[in-house]
């Protein structure tokens, strides 16, 4: 690839892929930006002309905006806390030599292969149903009144469902990280007088720092956009309306494409703010 010829040939060869990717990204982005400055109501008159920043102002001042941002952050934060916390514990457990290790590891990873819609439906109908759900039976067995999970503890329920899906991913990444921990370091700490919990705190956890950052980064990207779990369970009611869901409602339920597009732009900004913070965190951790 040294000569001028081969370099320009390479550019030519790559061009179709680059153009396709750019188009795929740029066209929707430009259209979103375009619509966000228009009053566009497909079933109520169609394109009604430019309105400047009206949509942006309306989207932010709507009473649903800030609750949706906080719901998004609570779900992302909750899922991250649960998956990282339990992921570390599970990784340590799975790293212990035991009988049937291979099968147990596959079982632990399997929830990741279940589609979000399916897993949410399974949780909703099989576990959380207040009449026939397994949780309801369990509560009744102990003489308690069954909890109506999706209405009384809606955010927690969503967090539970999403955590169940993402726990395998966190566990997998953390398990590989824990396997690369030098056994002699733990032995040295043991000789230095560190108790098991201190060994975990001073040796294992710092060693996992990098893997935890990677888990947090990747999961955040995907969790900011969760939709199916909310769509098939609460439909955005009981305080589970995330920013993504709010945009969906504005565009498809209220048929207000302009307003929804403005919301989409806000979502891009929010995601980027979080991404910048995370990248800094990762950068700091990877510098070590």
């Amino acid at each position: 690839m040294a000569t001028q010829n081969s370099r320009s040939a390479a550019r030519l060869m790559m061009a179709p892929a680059v153009i396709l990717l750019l188009g795929w990204m740029l066209v929707p982005l430009v259209m979103t930006l375009l619509f966000s400055f228009k009053k566009y109501l497909p079933l109520r008159g169609g394109d009604l002309g430019w309105v400047g920043f009206d949509n942006y102002v309306r989207f932010v001042t709507s009473s649903a905006f800030w609750p949706s941002v906080s719901a998004t952050l609570i779900i992302v934060g909750g899922v991250l806390a649960i998956t990282v916390g339990l992921g570390v514990l599970l990784a340590i457990l799975l790293n212990q030599p035991m009988w049937g290790q291979g099968i147990v590891r596959i079982l632990v990873i399997s929830p990741f292969f279940v589609m979000p819609t399916v897993s949410a439906l399974v949780w909703k109908n099989m576990f959380m149903d207040p009449v026939n759900g397994l949780f309801a039976h369990l509560w009744k067995f102990f003489g308690a009144a069954p909890v109506e999970w999706l209405s009384q503890a809606s955010l927690q329920s969503i967090i539970l469902i999403v955590s169940w899906q993402w726990l395998p991913f966190a566990t997998l990444i953390l398990l590989t990280a824990i396997q690369s921990l030098d056994r002699e370091q733990l032995e040295a700490a043991e000789m230095d007088g560190a108790a098991p919990l201190q060994r975990f705190g001073y040796i294992t956890l710092p060693h996992l720092g990098r893997a935890i950052t990677v888990v947090v980064l990747i999961q955040t990207i995907f969790l900011l956009g969760i939709f199916a779990e909310i769509f098939v369970t609460t439909q955005g009611s009981f305080g589970t309306r995330t920013l993504t869901y709010l945009i969906y409602q504005r565009v498809l339920e209220s048929q207000n494409v302009g307003l929804g597009s403005a919301g989409g732009v806000y979502a891009i900004i929010l995601a980027n703010i979080i991404a910048i913070f995370l990248m800094r965190m990762v950068g700091k951790n990877l510098d070590k």
Binding site: E184, Q185, E187, A188, M191, D192, G193, I203, P206
Partner: protein, 334 residues
């Protein structure tokens, strides 16, 4: 204060007996080296003393206290690992401070001991660096520093120099020896390198398959190896072990002659052969000699520069008083 006594100590992993019951006393202040080929159980023995492995039988006493079931941290021993086992996310200072922090030593005392250790080990300029930014030799010194500040009853070294290059190894060997002379603390040192054992030890313990083959000072082992295994293991290059009629002449099953105890003579040598490879080191020349009718290859050391080359005939005379005799079981005949 660091007299370590092993009394019928044994270790099995499942059905495999790695160390059959074994007795050994390590005197206070001694530099003891466990040496043997890989897989001889020397590291396992060290880990048993450290408490990182549980014994399958027998007792370990440290300063006449039974330490068999005492957790590693409470035995008052410090260990230097083959991989150094430094904590990569902590600075050198924090690495060295770690055992004191765990023991609840006051901040002031910690600082005093760290400064003293850093000064002794030439680490003062590196205290705020991370282990990843140090060279192999510096990492090794940090690991030793971490052991020193604990003021242990004994130091345990598990092949500490095997990750260093040859030149550095010689330097660190001297540093550890000097450290021992200064501290006069018991040190147990595991290695597979007999040169390290010979140069550093007060007492060498030669191990094979978990058995102690011989215990003694380096020169005792050199002068009077108890069996053919020790004879072949101690000394560099290896002792020539000769069986058959030549050995029978001396009334033994096997005779052993070290390369440095065979003289190269002009003619009328007792043995003769053809030169295979000649290794010229300047101060010495090592000849690998074939067709002697004794063994496949006979190694001979000649002092200085000798100008014999491949294919030449060489005449040799072993020094009669330096011939070691062994019986059919490989045991020394006096």
């Amino acid at each position: 204060m660091g007299r370590i006594t092993l009394d019928k100590v044994s270790k099995s992993f499942g059905d495999v007996e790695v160390i059959p019951p074994l007795d050994l006393t390590i005197e206070d202040g001694d530099f003891t080296v466990f040496v043997g080929p890989s897989g001889c159980g020397k590291s396992t023995l060290l880990r048993l003393i450290a408490g990182l492995e549980d014994t399958s039988g027998g007792h370990i006493r440290i300063d006449s206290q039974d330490a068999t079931h005492v957790p590693p941290a409470k035995r008052g021993l410090a260990m230097v690992f083959q991989s150094y086992a430094l904590y990569p996310h902590m600075s050198v200072r924090k690495n060295i401070a770690f055992p004191m922090k765990m023991a609840g030593v006051s901040e002031e005392e910690q600082r005093r001991r760290i400064d003293a250790a850093a000064k002794a080990l030439n680490l003062t300029d590196y205290l705020d660096r991370r282990p990843g930014q140090l060279s192999g030799g510096q990492r090794q010194r940090v690991a030793i520093g971490r052991a020193i500040v604990r003021e242990p009853a004994a130091f345990l070294f598990d092949e500490p120099l095997s990750n260093l290059d040859a030149a550095l190894r010689v330097g660190m060997r001297l540093e550890i020896s000097e450290l021992h002379k200064r501290l006069r603390t018991t040190m147990i040192y595991v290695t597979h390198d007999q040169v390290e054992a010979m140069t550093m030890a007060d007492k060498i313990v030669v191990l094979r398959a978990g058995h102690i083959e011989q215990v003694g000072s380096p020169l005792e082992l050199y002068r009077a190896p108890r069996n053919t295994f020790v004879a072949g293991f101690i000394g560099s290059p290896k002792m020539n072990l000769i069986e058959g009629p030549e050995a029978a002449k001396h009334g033994a099953h096997t005779i052993g002659v070290r390369p440095e105890h065979i003289d190269v003579v002009e003619e009328n040598g007792i043995w003769q052969g053809t030169v295979g490879v000649a290794e010229h080191l300047g101060s010495d020349t090592f000849f690998h000699i074939h067709n002697t009718g004794l063994t496949d290859t006979l190694t001979v050391r000649a002092l200085g520069e000798v100008t014999l080359s491949h294919g030449d005939t060489i005449h040799l005379s072993p020094r009669a008083e330096q011939i070691h005799k062994f019986d059919a079981q490989g045991l020394r005949i006096e």
